[in-house]
Symmetry: C2
DNA sequence: GTGAAAGCGCTAACAG
DNA sequence: CTGTTAGCGCTTTCAC
């Protein structure tokens, strides 16, 4: 079916070694020979099998990518960024997703390692306390984390703490005092923790009291009564919600709408991720943006640097700048924080906690 | 570093052939031997290298996936569906994106073929007139198209013509008569053509005159004056827009908003793709939905069927059922189609064409 | 039931 | 400059 280096050698009347050299080190072979070999290559439509090369040796030109999911555009965008550089540089990408499951993370890494990938780009649930990463540090392959914001390991991310801090400070600057943080059910991730810490710091710095993050079920159609209750308990009722990611923010916006609460008049919303789609909402979603494509590309470059032997700079965490998109979902708060009407819309009959 | 079958053989005191059999055909080796070999495997944490296997033989357990982009959630969701089954069945995925570029499509397929993938799942710009696909038919590897709706080739999609037909008929049922179709700049794809044909058929069947699809720049902040002009030319002014995909619909909605047109009061919008995110818009986007995860999974199964030697059923096009999401972006039209106020909002001063 | 040996496609010494 | 040779890790006859 497909021809091998042997066929080319026979066709050209040289040894396979010469053919190999003609391909990998053209300058070391006689121009006339080279021409003949190339002719044979064309005639037979020969493409060297990566398999043979990979088996033989050091360079597989294979990079593994391990992501939680592609349902979140954040990761899809990162992957897109990686793929751009990878294909431009002649590398192949092997992709596995984990659904945030530690067991699948382990399986993915083992599979990829068995495939002899030269490097790994991955996003894990929690980078600091991850035995797998210690194993990788110990016996390869080289890796770079993406969106895992840790000082201890090679990674590319934003400064989640600082980003959340900036975002919440912006809410405070708009007059908000009672700000609640909402997180998805996968709140155990390092990112979520850091974002909450940033929120807490901003609150405290303004002399306000941070609250624990409130968990929200991602998949529910409406907001759970317990959550709505939190949004409506008299004097401590929040005027703004900081959502740990944009998808969550959108779900919450829908939930509020169903509960007849207006955004931003009755409740301001700040998301995290800066999904392009958020801008298309009405009102456009305010959000802390992460440069996902850039993160993917930077992760790639760092991985290449490490593979190239750069043990210094490329081995630590890199934080890319985040952005602050002040969309229409944030209202300024004056003296009277809440209207009676809103109060009533908030608690439709029996739901009153 | 990592141990090989040789190490295991030495450690267990048998030949590598026996180790190989212990792994691939346990029943053919003496139970006692088997136990010893397994012990050695565990002791050395041996994982057989796919590379050796791949080189030796037919089965690489590698599947190539070629997609236009991951920026569109449609494809990310398909990939997610594929990955689920692939990893469950012990296959590895090699991913390449093409940005709808024919040259990159060719390069991707060649790279993947060289890697000896056992099969290919791909989405191309235009399936019917694609020389590459003929080459694949001729000398492998086996493939299945995704979202390319063609009878002539193995594929999984929805019936784009029918789906568009249904959607536009629904618009007509809501009283719309002047309906325009909008398409992205990549309008040359087979999908876009089929969707326009479905639109045209629905129009004609209702005694209405279909118009050519109007091209809209995806990336522009506001709608181009030429487009706005089309939406405002006196008596033939449309009351509803059928957008060839959801991303486009969202961009158009934003553009209309900036032009001070209300959706759906002044203009109804129907999208195509059924992106989950569309439901979170305000108002929720009406859309023709494609079951992307299911399409990915079905494509996988069809590919496996073909690889398994099913030359009959699995070789033709499969159309999965589409859905019709009647979101809030569609208004019913009564007697008076357009308000004067809307007319004025539509043409802000100098823009009047 | 087990081992020896060939070979998958390729690269990399080492000779000539 | 070119050919010979020895593997990379594994599977698979073919003997024993």
């Amino acid at each position: 079916m497909t021809s091998t280096i042997k066929d080319v050698a026979a066709h050209a009347g040289f040894s396979i070694a010469t053919v190999s050299r003609a391909i990998n080190a053209p300058h070391t072979v006689n121009p006339v020979t080279l021409a003949k070999v190339r002719e044979a290559i064309d005639a037979l439509k020969f493409r060297p099998s990566p398999l043979g090369r990979q088996l033989r040796g050091e360079r597989t030109r294979l990079i593994g990518v391990v992501l939680p999911t592609l349902a979140n555009p954040v990761f899809a965008e990162c992957l897109q960024g990686i793929d751009e550089l990878a294909s431009a540089q002649g590398f192949r990408l092997m992709l596995m997703t984990t659904q945030y499951d530690a067991q699948r993370e382990r399986h993915a890494i083992e599979t990829l390692r068995a495939q002899r990938v030269e490097g790994l780009i991955l996003t894990v649930a929690d980078a600091d306390t991850h035995p797998l990463l210690d194993e990788l540090d110990a016996d390869g392959p080289l890796y770079v984390l993406m969106h895992n914001d840790t000082k201890r390991r090679p990674s590319v991310s934003v400064d989640n703490h600082r980003a959340a801090f900036d975002g919440v400070r912006m809410l405070i600057a708009h007059g908000h005092r009672r700000i609640l943080m909402l997180a998805g059910t996968l709140a155990a991730s390092d990112r979520a923790r850091q974002r909450h810490a940033g929120y807490a710091q901003a609150m405290e710095q303004a002399g306000l009291t941070p609250a624990p993050a409130l968990e929200v079920d991602f998949n529910a159609e409406a907001l759970a009564p317990s959550v709505l209750a939190h949004l409506s308990t008299g004097p401590t009722r929040p005027t703004a919600l900081f959502c740990s990611n944009d998808l969550l923010a959108m779900v919450v916006m829908r939930g509020l709408r169903r509960a007849h609460l207006r955004v931003p008049q009755d409740m301001s919303i700040l998301g995290f991720d800066g999904l392009a789609m958020g801008e298309l909402l009405a009102p456009p979603l305010a959000s802390i943006g992460t440069p996902n494509g850039e993160i993917g590309r930077a992760a790639w470059q760092r991985l290449m640097a490490r593979i190239g032997g750069d043990y210094a700079g490329a081995s630590l965490g890199l934080a890319l700048p985040h952005t602050l998109r002040e969309g229409g979902t944030i209202a300024a708060i004056g003296g009277a924080p809440f209207s009676e009407a809103a109060d009533q819309r908030l608690m439709p009959g029996p739901m009153r906690a």
